[in-house]
Symmetry: C2
Subunit: 179 residues, 2 copies
């Protein structure tokens, strides 16, 4: 092993952030989301969680809060709050489920349906405008790639595949670093 300099100007960086896939995915996702939100948030006063809930109800019709969470990959608390917000504005209505009174179906009111009918085309246009920079084969590749990455990341072990040496297991009682 070579001798270490005490105060080097700079070594070769071990990692270039600009080329690091998780970082890049986050940046692109953030910029895209932000751009989309600018299109509807300012016009309709609706936030991203509320948009997702609205879109999910618009897609599936009558659906429970739990199912919304599954389809839109949102935490149930977020769904609950977004749904409450939409309900308070008369965009969403609850229908009690007599078969299971713990849950309730959510559905769009006429006003909610009208809003959905206005935002959805905007959103689709945004996505189309975005995808228009990609040659068709790249657009198709992106679909495949995102599927593959999602499946892979979901199956990934919480520890590196190469055993680090001893069986020193990471302590489970540490905070999960949200953000």
């Amino acid at each position: 092993m070579a001798s270490r300099r005490i105060r080097p100007d700079r070594r070769d960086p071990a990692l270039r952030l600009a080329a690091f896939l998780p970082y890049r995915l986050n940046v692109v996702a953030a910029v895209v989301s932000e751009g989309l939100a600018r299109r509807y948030a300012s016009q309709f006063g609706i936030g991203i969680p509320e948009w997702r809930v609205l879109a999910t109800i618009g897609e599936f019709g009558r659906i429970t809060a739990g199912a919304i969470g599954q389809h839109a990959r949102m935490h149930k608390v977020k769904v609950s709050r977004a749904a409450a917000g939409l309900e308070s504005r008369g965009l969403v209505a609850r229908e009690a489920n007599a078969k299971d009174r713990r849950e309730a179906f959510l559905a769009l009111t006429p006003a909610g349906d009208a809003l959905y009918g206005r935002i959805a085309p905007l959103a689709l246009a945004y996505a189309a405008e975005l995808a228009a920079v990609l040659p068709p084969e790249d657009a198709a590749a992106l679909d495949r790639i995102l599927d593959a990455l999602l499946a892979r990341a979901g199956r990934m072990d919480p520890a590196p595949p190469v055993p680090t040496e001893s069986g020193a297991r990471p302590r489970p009682g540490t905070r999960p670093a949200s953000g």
Copy 2:
């Protein structure tokens, strides 16, 4: 497939969330980030913003907070807090800039450098493991695609390209829907 009546009175959905690019990008980015964070957060007690700052200092050596924000695309408040956290743990040190005493250079301490030296390989291994599901041409395509999408989203107008009819401009004074 025959027409199953799951939902009673709903037209064809205007938008399928699962196929909607902004949504998909967000989901993939979130799952990937979460998976990566699980690898270092639990072991080293470091969060995502702190990791980004650490990685940026590790990459560039001595760097100001503002430059970190530019390179890592972080808001200056976030950089400030993450840097304060790293400093309080002795991972980062400040060096005053005599030429401009408003700013200060941040650099890794030996402890910070050691931590960087341990996390960076983990992170790179994670990214490599992730990219391993992609055939080489898809991995290359992904690089191109993310660049193109990022550039496009950054240049995108806050309003749809097709004029909606009259010159009814969206009211500028509405909240920007963070999240």
